[in-house]
């Protein structure tokens, strides 16, 4: 590890890295909705999808002073 290794970008994402992202980030539909959508037809039920919250993070992490140990 003390060799001066060049940091290489991983070309194939590891499963952990993928799971880290795909399970609860991006556009998330309530878990129970996911399940019920499998059994219902929105049109039939006259169910309506609505945006409960929308957040984008377009700032630099403010954790610089407090280190990456703090979850955000």
């Amino acid at each position: 590890m003390s060799d001066r290794m060049i940091v290489e970008r991983a070309t194939h994402a590891s499963l952990i890295d993928v799971l880290d992202r795909v399970l609860d980030k991006g556009v998330v539909i309530d878990a129970w909705v996911r399940v019920s959508l499998a059994g219902i037809d929105l049109m039939t039920l006259q169910a309506r999808i609505f945006v409960a919250s929308i957040e984008t993070y377009l700032k630099q992490a403010d954790s610089v002073a407090r280190s990456g140990r703090i979850a955000s």
Binding site: V7, R9, K25, S67
Partner: protein, 306 residues
């Protein structure tokens, strides 16, 4: 589509019902549909699989991501399923959902499924800005997808503009804790003195050991903060935004995501490599480009009309 519900004989199972209603719905809109035939005028189309006709059990639509496009797009057989499903788009105004036909079941996040989800996103984002869906979103019909796009149109459109031409990169930083402890012991006189006290003392070393532990922890914490702050600072001017997630495990000191503009990708890349050389004691796990998972969070809910 809704009207057929009442007409179906009651012995028909839900599954059969879905099969009969959902598939035709997918076909008639947006031109492409599941039977995406090669069409000369489409841009950015990889030649679709010739045998991509919907199989009888392809009832629902799995959603991978949202893009901005008025033209139907086709990405070929990349989707979930043992035989990778054809990936195409469903449109509403100028946005589209990237979908594939899938059995109407709750998909488990197995290795194959999760990697297929990621593979589609990776492919789409080569040429399009994407808002990634989290894993496992299945809608029953083509019209339900349109309803999704319509309901969340403003949110999707706004976020697509904000994320335009930006990618996410992941950077995890690990250290060899024992090596750092040895370094701290070499550098810090108090700690060195305590350590030799502990090893030479005959009686109880309880207090010396407690104090040693406290000093080592504090020194590790401040060293990790210094490294992490240095790394964030070095990447500040080549990224648009950054997020700091909780490090996983003992060895990780930083678990961050960076949002990087397409035209800064090279600069970001070389900067990460410079940092890697500068901090030679640290191990870097650098991944990407990813869809901007860490920078977008849109929560959708379902409400029943009365």
């Amino acid at each position: 589509m809704a009207k057929t519900a009442a007409k179906k004989p009651s012995k028909s199972t839900k599954r059969e019902f879905a099969r009969k209603t959902a598939v035709p719905a997918g076909r008639d809109r947006a031109g492409g549909g599941p039977v995406a035939a090669p069409r000369g005028k489409l841009e950015r189309v990889k030649v679709p699989a010739p045998a991509a006709a919907p199989r009888p059990d392809s009832e629902g639509k799995y959603v991978y991501c949202i893009v901005r496009s008025e033209e139907p797009l086709s990405f070929g057989p990349l989707g979930l399923g043992q035989e990778p499903a054809d990936v195409h788009t469903v449109h509403y105004r100028d946005i589209a959902a990237v979908v594939s036909n899938t059995p109407m079941v709750v998909q488990d996040p197995t290795r194959e499924n999760v990697l297929a989800h990621q593979r589609v996103n990776e492919t789409v984002m080569q040429k399009h800005t994407v808002i990634p869906m989290s894993f496992g979103t299945v809608f029953k019909t083509h019209d339900d997808i349109i309803e999704l796009l319509r309901s969340a149109y403003d949110a999707f459109s706004d976020v697509l503009s904000k994320m335009k031409d930006k990618f996410e990169f992941g950077l995890k930083v690990l250290w060899d804790r024992d090596q750092i402890v040895r370094e701290i012991e070499d550098e810090d006189e108090d700690i060195r003195r305590l350590k030799s006290e502990i090893s030479s003392q005959k009686g109880s070393t309880y207090f010396a050991r407690m104090q040693y532990g406290r000093l080592i922890d504090a020194a590790l914490q401040s060293r990790s903060e210094r490294y992490v702050a240095g790394i964030f600072n070095a990447l500040r001017d080549v990224s648009v935004a950054s997020r700091s997630n909780k490090p996983i495990g003992d060895r990780m000191i930083m678990n961050a995501a960076f949002l990087v503009a397409r035209d800064k990708e090279q600069a970001f890349d070389s900067r990460v490599k410079e940092i890697g050389q500068q901090y030679e004691k640290l191990t870097f796990k650098y991944t990407g480009p990813w869809p901007p998972y860490n920078f977008v969070n849109i929560r959708l809910k379902l409400e029943r009309a009365h």
